[in-house]
Symmetry: C2
Subunit: 409 residues, 2 copies
């Protein structure tokens, strides 16, 4: 049998009882004969608790120390899971990111995996042990702990699967797969059985919370088959793969799903003088502040002047608007912004070279009387920015008009 | 200025406010010009919380996993203290035991420091940084975390002071020094200003809780001057040193102090046949169970039979008695035991070669009508085991008869 990597999130290991349930599930997979590597997140609200303590002792804690602090959450989880497995007669050993050979580089708080040296992991597997690896962390060339930032534990799991040439990577979460839309908004939404990595990454970037796009892209790069499943039920979940099954599906399927995101605010510079280097002057100060920009729209020039607008996360809104207010006078324009926005995206590789899908999206929203504030398109998605209060209705109408509930017959 | 190592215990870093108070104290020492290495324990009840979780997921957690789990408590403390120092404008960097070059060997849960590689520590000090080192831990040759067991953080501090050839090691605790007896029992007890390492170690082994004897002995071995001080007040505390000041004191002082311990139980084998190897048959099964034996008394043989009695910690009593009950029939004797005991010791290098001190102790207890159950003596202490309820009275009477309250004129 081959190697399987499993990842359990923080809500799956929130209490001693949860950890015991995960141990039962791991034991079952081990009994079925797979060589197992398991990676876990910190217990439930542990990370929040540690961040709160950091905020109590310091106004602006150094990122290196934050990483040192936060990495302990995963270390506790792996030790406890190894104990729970041992208690069930399953040989298991916990490893820190460092012990698992996770080498990182980049900035503290948002490290990237530069290399995995899996000798010790392979040694444990050869002994018949389950290796339990602390997610979300590695060590840099100084020997310091670095956390991997957003999506870190998913990324750990997929990277381990790639380094060990695993049969598959199983991501256990609190939902039973990826849906054609958020079932809380669209009760008819359907679980997607197979999805391509590029569609999945696009859905994740555009708002699907189940799995982090960074991990999906890493999986695509190394050809890792990812299974998204529920920690609690036993269903088949969603398989993310670029393999043959998908090719067959793609010939008849077009739109994979509708995703939405309410963490959207918009900042605009109106009436600015444009010329070579203008956009760089707009976006460099944002990059320097570490603010990610999503949708960008530049209006056509008129009398040597133009409007530039872009979206950011709501948490970054005050700083982004301040930066633009500082800049606007030098460009002869004015800054403005609004916070209560959302975006809705239609995602699917089937849209490639079929321009009719964007038109169909605009028609649907127009008929529903929903004003579109900004638009962004790529080969496999169309995204519309709108007022936050319009998002639920837009998702429902689009799910209906693209006939997603009926596709699976 | 030279290097000073400071150690703060768990109660000194129990909350964010406590950590900030420690940061103020460290800043003051730094402002005074010393190069500082600070080691801290886990926050307050953190270790207990983690052990409880371990007990919830496993009936007998593997020592390696316990170590992996418990080491996170100190990692959190060091990161938080570094943040609190940075927030006060003091350059500080936290280090895990591994990063500080702490190499260990031996058994998980009771590792011993085999080597310290202080290159990184020295580099931080050369940069003018305060180095904050996680106490109680190091890594073994496998790269696994090992905790140092009882007295681990004190031992970390003293070992660092030795490796860095520090001017002194300051142990901050919740009392303001070592006393001639427990002030809760003897209000007249006096703070000892200077004490020799051998006396201090003996007092610690015999029940003084302030500092662990293991750390005292390590300090004696490497000539580290140890200052025991209060985390909260600003007094001079007690200095543990073998230096000149002490020599002078020793010419006129005899008894350093009276210590007591209520964590004592007694197990006896009565009427056993003795011969070559009998004692080994008695104590080997205890060693195999990891049970430490303290006072041992063997009665004179009569008709080829003898009685052997020894004391253990109360937590080890059930297992020790069980082991002896299994053994007794083979030796033709009977096992018995009692739990509610205590011991009282008179400690002082001045007792060396002056047998009158043991006699004075027995006289004092006899006059007070306190029955002595067992006696143990060495060059610098006399210990009497008695019923637990007699301990307070014994300490008071002995403190009086050895005139300890009057010595410091």
């Amino acid at each position: 049998m081959g190697i399987v990597v499993q990842k359990y999130g923080g809500s799956s290991v929130a209490t001693a009882d949860h950890i015991k349930a995960v141990a039962e599930r791991v034991k079952k997979a081990r009994d079925a004969g797979s060589d197992l590597v398991v990676t876990v997140s910190a217990m439930g609200k542990q990370t929040d608790r540690l961040l709160r303590l950091a905020g109590e002792v310091s106004r602006s804690p150094a990122p290196r120390e934050i990483d040192q602090l936060l990495s302990t959450g995963e270390l506790q989880s792996v030790a406890l899971l190894a104990m729970a497995l041992n208690d069930r007669g399953v040989a298991a050993t916990s490893l820190t990111g460092s012990q698992a050979g996770m080498k990182t580089e980049g900035r503290y708080g948002s490290g990237v995996i530069s290399e995995i040296r899996p000798e010790r992991l392979r040694g444990l597997l050869a002994e018949g042990q389950v290796a339990i690896v602390a997610g979300f962390q590695g060590t840099n060339s100084l020997g310091d702990v670095m956390t991997l930032g957003r999506g870190g534990s998913d990324t750990t799991a997929v990277a381990l699967a790639a380094a060990l040439d695993a049969d598959r990577c199983e991501i256990y979460t609190d939902v039973d797969g990826i849906y054609t839309a958020d079932p809380r908004i669209v009760p008819e939404a359907r679980r997607i059985t197979v999805i391509s990595p590029s569609e999945m990454a696009e859905m994740a970037w555009r708002g699907a919370k189940v799995m982090h796009p960074r991990a999906v892209e890493l999986g695509a790069l190394y050809g890792v088959e990812i299974h998204v499943k529920s920690s609690f039920g036993g269903g088949p979940g969603t398989v993310i793969t670029g393999g043959e099954d998908l090719e067959r599906l793609e010939t008849r399927e077009t739109v994979a799903g509708i995703v939405h995101d309410l963490d959207v605010a918009r900042v605009a510079l109106n009436g600015i003088r444009t010329g070579p280097g203008t956009l760089s002057r707009v976006f460099t100060p944002l990059a320097e502040r570490g603010i990610s920009v999503d949708v960008i729209v530049e209006s056509g020039m008129k009398d040597g002047r133009a409007d530039v607008a872009f979206t950011v996360r709501r948490g970054d809104f005050p700083e982004a608007r301040e930066a633009m207010e500082e800049l606007a006078p030098a460009l002869g324009g004015q800054a403005e912004g609004e916070e209560e926005l959302g975006k809705v995206s239609v995602v699917g590789t089937g849209m490639l070279n079929r321009p009719g899908y964007a038109a169909k999206m605009f028609d649907t929203l127009g008929e529903a009387g929903i004003p579109i504030r900004m638009v962004s398109t790529s080969e496999i998605q169309v995204t519309c920015v709108m007022r936050a209060e319009e998002v639920d209705g837009a998702v429902r109408r689009l799910h209906e008009s693209f006939e997603l509930e009926e596709r699976d017959v």
